[in-house]
């Protein structure tokens, strides 16, 4: 039998250490006792997890591997020493080696008590759920007046004491045998069949069928037809895969989706129960991902990092050029942020757009641009601007009734929309050559996508949220997912290898040239991919708050708990990879916020989605603080200035204009606490912890502005509903990170540049990972235009350059 003995103190001199050393020697013919010291164990700190450190891992491994543990505790102030608390806290935080482990407690002290009270505390501690040791009852061994108990050889002097210690130890050996029987996995038998249960989705419960044979989980099928396409896939494919693969319910939850992850696990557990099995047994089985696989090695022409829109496009172009490509994606399914996109992509296509009628206000907008002073335009854009002035002039002179557009209007709007100045006074605007490429070639991207298999709705020209003009090409089918679906099929049909759950950890760099990547596989194996070029298409860093805060120069403050509309995968990995190769960065201080997001999830499509004409924004004091029609940046900064959290107040009539909801959904949201409802404004104010008088006054004033058609406070000029009819609603909102404009510096050929402006041989970047294009603000609909246009260039050049070598 093999035991671990823990000296319960870090003191240099300890009678408890002597006691364990005596036991080790005295019982050497009965059992092996290895003594562990606490001297080097760091103080537990939940905000600085050191579970992976050598010392903590050593304790974890030794305790896990032992048949049982003997703890010798002194008594400090009626309790166990802090050093012993500290190791037990580490062993119950993220690691749980004591779970079910037989434990014997002994203790020595200077006073006659012999650590009696510390031992009782220790029993209670070891009983805590995170520790969950199996402590031997009875047979308390208390060694009082320890300074008189040992002879010079370290042996216990009293024969009676030795006899009692022997009887305690013999009992512990038997106890260990019996207690460890509890740790033997139980046989699991199911009543075979398919069991219908539910999993928790984002929009309500999802039907789930679990098929069990006599002793196996054979299949888990979740009906995700009511979920947002693409986003849900990660949880609803990977968790079932892991459960079936490992025949275990001990699976890692997906970060950023713990509730839905647990929903799947709990659903399978219910099915197991229905089949007469004990799910606890499955929860105690080892993780599927702990089964480490052999390292893998591949050789290809181009490796693409990231399987969002940019990455899949680059891969498709590599295939078009007749070369091989491997796409490494961190997440279990492709799509990245593209699947979360609203759908329309910008491209100036006058031939098509001219078929649509102009709408009121558009001529005015054009005139405003035409009347801008040339001095206000940056020099490199002036030639284009003058040409645009003429185009607009001709259009207005001809009294055009159709929708106007041109590549030049697209270019100048992208430039003007992206122009910003940060808090330090640094001005930024879109890099001319990149903006020119985008606006000249976006339409080719639309045409190319059609070839790949994306169909666009030609009957409607839309203005995406946050855009400046109606030039959105909207795909048929489910929004952003439509692109990914088509591209994934295209590259797989044409022989690309798509490796999911394969985060790229480093670039292979030799003599300044990039020769591939090293990634980590789903089971911890090292994956080496040799390639002639690498395309970084891993997205921005919207889901990496630390990175955002580090670079931010635009917002006065970014909360530690800020949410994001991005996929949790978007953590700046490609930017870090680029930096490792000496890449230069551009515009990193600029990030885009979606001001009106769910405060808990960052999602855009919760609460009541209605036009700003129909709600009032109030801060946490119940006062208005901004024109509800302000730009994204205005709304965001106003919200930040007002403590981030704010509310959209509306009345019952709102239901008629909300395009995303039904009475049923409203009720569910009220019940879940994500939407507030009350029959009186006073009651609503109380729920929001706002002074009722202030809120009532705010609403009264606002209603009078609606009647008057003007808002003297904040200049809102478009009104629709007042707030009069009960019940009243308040949707809590907070700004969330939406897009990061900064990134790797690239040239028009998507080559990543170093700090001297030189090309880093073999390294390309496309999409949100690259900077310089959108500058200080990305127009709605331009990110899709960006990824498909620069993704195509990256794919082509990554092959061509190789040929040129």
């Amino acid at each position: 039998m093999k035991f671990i003995g823990i000296v319960g103190t870090n003191a240099a001199k300890s009678y408890n250490r002597m006691l364990l050393q005596f036991m080790k020697k005295h019982f050497s013919d009965k059992a092996e006792i290895e003594i562990l010291e606490l001297t080097d164990v760091p103080m537990f700190d939940e905000s600085d997890d050191q579970s992976d450190s050598d010392i903590i891992q050593m304790f974890n491994t030794k305790i896990s591997d032992a048949d049982g543990v003997i703890i010798a505790t002194p008594e400090h102030n009626h309790s166990v020493p802090s050093a012993l608390n500290s190791i037990l806290e580490w062993m119950s935080f993220n690691l749980h080696p004591f779970d079910g482990k037989p434990v014997m407690i002994v203790g020595a002290s200077l006073h006659p008590q012999g650590s009696s009270r510390a031992q009782l505390h220790l029993r209670q501690i070891l009983d805590a759920p995170g520790v969950n040791a199996t402590v031997m009852p009875g047979s308390e061994f208390l060694l009082g007046q320890a300074q008189k108990a040992f002879d010079d050889n370290g042996d216990l002097k009293s024969e009676g004491t030795v006899d009692f210690l022997e009887s305690c130890f013999t009992k512990f050996q038997r106890f260990t045998e019996i207690a460890n029987l509890l740790n033997v996995p139980e046989d699991l038998n199911f009543k075979p069949g398919t069991f219908e249960v539910t999993a928790k989705g984002h929009n309500g419960d999802l039907p789930m069928s679990v098929t069990l044979s006599k002793d196996r989980i054979e299949d888990i099928d979740i009906d995700t037809s009511t979920e947002t396409k693409g986003i849900a896939d990660v949880v609803f494919t990977r968790i079932p895969q892991e459960i079936v693969k490992g025949q275990t319910l001990n699976v890692d939850v997906i970060s950023g989706a713990s509730i839905t992850s647990h929903g799947v696990i709990d659903g399978v557990a219910r099915a197991v129960k229905m089949a007469g099995g004990n799910p606890e047994i499955l929860k105690k089985r080892p993780k599927a991902s702990n089964i480490v696989q052999k390292d893998e090695e591949y050789t290809t022409d181009v490796v693409v990092v990231g399987a969002g829109g940019a990455g899949l496009t680059a891969a498709a172009k590599v295939l078009d050029e007749g070369k091989n490509v491997i796409v490494a994606e961190k997440f279990p399914s492709p799509g990245g942020n593209t699947v979360r996109a609203g759908g329309p992509m910008n491209a100036a296509d006058p031939e098509w757009q001219n078929k649509f009628d102009a709408i009121p206000g558009e001529a005015h907008r054009l005139k405003e641009i035409k009347d801008m002073k040339l001095d206000d335009i940056d020099p490199e854009y002036r030639d284009d601007f003058k040409k645009l002035q003429k185009q607009i002039g001709d259009y207005l002179d001809s009294d055009g009734k159709y929708l106007f557009d041109s590549k030049l209007l697209f270019r100048i709007q992208t430039y003007l929309g992206g122009k910003r100045t940060d808090l330090q006074g640094n001005e930024i605007h879109g890099q001319y050559d990149l903006v020119k490429i985008l606006t000249d070639h976006a339409l080719e991207s639309v045409k190319w996508l059609e070839k790949v298999g994306v169909s666009f709705d030609k009957n409607e020209v839309t203005m995406p949220v946050g855009a400046l003009w109606r030039r959105g090409h909207k795909p048929m089918g489910p929004e952003g997912f439509a692109y990914i679906q088509a591209l994934q099929k295209y590259i797989e049909d044409n022989g690309a290898k798509l490796m999911t759950e394969t985060p790229v950890k480093e670039l292979i760099i030799e003599d300044g040239k990039i020769y591939g990547v090293i990634a980590r596989g789903a089971n911890g194996q090292k994956i080496t991919i040799h390639a002639e070029s690498v395309v970084l298409a891993s997205g921005g860093y919207g889901a990496n708050t630390k990175m955002l805060k580090k670079y931010n120069t635009y917002w006065t403050e970014i909360d530690d708990d800020i949410q994001t509309s991005n996929s949790p995968a978007i953590t700046g990995d490609g930017i870090k990879l680029g930096l490792s190769a000496g890449a230069d960065l551009v515009g990193m201080g600029f990030s885009q916020m979606m001001p009106v997001s769910d405060p808990d999830t960052g999602e855009l499509f919760t609460g009541l989605q209605v036009p700003p004409a129909n709600f009032i924004m109030v801060n946490q004091q119940g006062k208005r603080f901004v024109n509800e029609y302000g730009s994204r940046d205005q709304l965001t900064q106003a919200a930040i200035d007002n403590g981030s959290l704010f509310y959209l107040i509306a009345d019952d009539e709102i239901k008629k204009t909300a395009y995303n909801t039904s009475q049923e959904k409203l009720d569910a949201q009220v019940k879940a606490g994500t939407l507030f409802r009350d029959d009186t404004l006073e009651g609503l104010a109380k729920q929001l912890k706002i002074d009722p008088e202030v809120l009532v006054d705010t609403i009264k004033k606002y209603n009078s502005y609606v009647d008057a058609g003007s808002d003297p406070e904040f200049g809102k000029d478009v009104f629709d509903l007042k707030v009069v009819k009960a019940p009243f609603y308040a949707t809590p909102r907070k700004p969330a990170v939406h897009h990061t404009m900064g990134g790797l510096k690239i040239d028009t050929g998507t080559h990543v540049l170093n700090k001297d402006g030189e090309i880093i041989d073999g390294l390309y970047a496309a999409g949100e990972v690259a900077g310089g294009l959108h500058a200080g603000n990305r127009l709605g609909g331009n990110s899709l235009a960006d990824i498909f246009t620069f993704g195509r260039i990256a794919g082509e050049n990554s092959v061509e350059d190789k040929v040129l070598d």
Binding site: T9, N10, A11, A12, K13, P42, M43, F44, D45, E46, S47, H76, N77, H78, S79, V80, P81, S82, A83, N85, S86, L88, E89, S92, S109, L110, H111, P112, R117, H121, Q124, I125, D127, A128, G130, V131, Q145, Q147, K148, Q620, G643, L645, K689
Partner: protein, 207 residues
């Protein structure tokens, strides 16, 4: 009145810290509460020379000069966190500023129990001869569901809990007075207690 409030954890995010900050603000008219952090203090290692490191001595001085101490403890594994215990070990092993010091225990936890078991242990610990604090009896303040307990202004949102805390704090103010009388009028071997040692006891020398 001048109190020291000790945040019983080294964690960056702590609702026990929030609780003390709320008390500091809410009771600012009744008492001055200085909040002391234990993050980064050296771990107790029982040095032979019985000399406290500088940072511990600084905390000791604050406790010594305060009229009372409020300890806010989380609960880890049914007991008080190691970092808090380490500080108490230092103080009990070196300068012993807690002897006869009025102490109020409060605690917050994410779950429903509000650190009840940690508070029970903390009482026993503070009763130890080397600490010998005067812990206010018969009053406990347990704040369960603490993650939801504070709004963005740091105010405690459970009205009943605010009332309870107010009563508890008023009692503590009284308790400090009473303890003061008890100690001042009868010096109960305070000095002798400060020199107490188990080594001496075990040799039959102290009592």
């Amino acid at each position: 009145m001048k109190f020291i409030g000790i945040v019983g954890t080294n964690a960056t995010k702590s609702t026990n810290r929030k609780l003390l900050q709320f008390m500091q603000k809410h009771f600012s008219k009744k008492a001055e509460i200085e909040i002391c952090e234990i993050k980064g203090l050296p771990a107790f290692n029982q040095p032979e020379n019985r000399i406290a490191p500088e940072e511990i001595q600084a905390l000791s001085d604050k406790v010594e000069s305060a009229d009372g101490v409020i300890i806010a403890t989380p609960e880890y594994d049914h007991t008080v966190p190691a970092p808090l215990k380490s500080v108490l070990e230092w103080l009990s092993y070196t300068s012993r500023p807690f002897i006869d010091k009025p102490v109020m225990i409060v605690g917050a936890s994410y779950g429903a129990l509000g650190s009840s078991r940690a508070q029970g242990h903390l009482r026993q610990i503070l009763d130890a001869p080397e600490l010998k604090a005067r812990v206010m009896p018969s009053e406990e303040f347990l704040l369960g569901h603490s993650l939801q307990a504070f709004d963005d202004n740091g105010d405690l949102v459970y009205a009943d809990k605010v009332t309870e805390l107010e009563e508890c704090f008023d009692q503590f103010l009284l308790f400090v007075d009473i303890t003061d009388q008890l100690i001042k009028n009868h010096s109960f071997q305070t000095e002798k207690n400060k020199n107490f040692s188990w080594e001496k006891v075990s040799e039959g020398g102290n009592n």
